[in-house]
Symmetry: C2
Subunit: 185 residues, 2 copies
């Protein structure tokens, strides 16, 4: 998956691994995260596969700054991936639910403390979606043709809307769960 995220961003403009890391952190990280270690190794592999080419501005004494550019092969791979629709549900993973599932033998107050910590974290996350998020998309977005940005924004906004809806749902569920547990003694 990271492969297609990298192709997707590089399809706008050539960039270094670090550029991609920054952009991902400010955009897709909320629904697909990657450490820089994975980004660098994946870029190298993609170059081997012929999806990308790279160049270092060889002033030799400077730090490398390897700039990656998407190839026609890479663009074809991206397009093929886009055309193939997702026809299944993902195997969602939620560590908190795992913990809750096996919490019957824990002290209620201990579980409540844990849920309250989560409540605070999700409250913060919701604040993030409500405020700074859209600006980041604009500031960090790679330079692209101005006439298309409007359409891009529509799709980006949809992912933000999802994030907000998700956090609101999560908070409501946490409140309900905390209430139920509080009345359990």
């Amino acid at each position: 998956m990271l492969k297609y995220i990298l192709l997707g961003f590089l399809n706008y403009s050539p960039m270094t691994g670090y550029d991609l890391k920054r952009i991902i952190d400010h955009s897709t990280a909320h629904f697909w995260h990657a450490y820089h270690s994975q980004i660098y190794t994946t870029l190298a592999r993609m170059e081997d596969e012929g999806l990308l080419t790279s160049e270092t501005d060889d002033s030799d004494d400077k730090l490398s700054r390897r700039v990656y550019t998407i190839t026609p092969t890479g663009q074809a791979a991206l397009a093929a991936w886009q055309r193939q629709p997702l026809t299944s549900l993902p195997h969602g993973k939620n560590e908190l639910l795992v913990r809750l599932f096996f919490s019957a033998d824990r002290k209620t107050e201990e579980v409540l403390d844990e849920l309250r910590i989560q409540r605070r974290l999700h409250q913060q996350q919701l604040e993030l979606y409500n405020h700074i998020y859209l600006d980041d998309y604009l500031n960090e977005a790679p330079p692209t043709e101005q006439q298309n940005v409007a359409r891009e924004m529509v799709f980006w906004q949809m992912t933000i809307d999802f994030g907000r809806a998700y956090e609101q749902m999560y908070l409501a569920w946490l409140d309900e769960t905390i209430n139920k547990l509080t009345e359990l003694d």
Copy 2:
């Protein structure tokens, strides 16, 4: 993580890898999935680590049926994991959002088709949560002391409630997104 799910279930009763696979499929799979290949290899590793012991009912001509039992070390590891609260947000992954994020250059109708497929899938998932789900928990649950089942049920129900809230949120977002896209031309 799978390690603690296995410890959690084996803490109720000794079981084989296949038993665990079945129980996971009917319970935690909705928030933590595992293939049987991973379950078998993880069980073997956990036995090496001293968290489990295993026995095969050696009728020799029969298929092995390796029954795993949690050790005191395993119970201690489970208890330690339970006590250590989760203090961070997970790095959520959502392939659909990745695809949507990079869908600005796709034909609107193609994206809509994909979203409608997802709508159908999530509708089915919600039906699942609304009907069969709680029964499965009861039928597939390992035998445990009857007096504690009530408390267990409270916690299991919370994870089901989350699943339902999640699918409802997802469907509402899909509807909203489909509407917005429909009015985009």
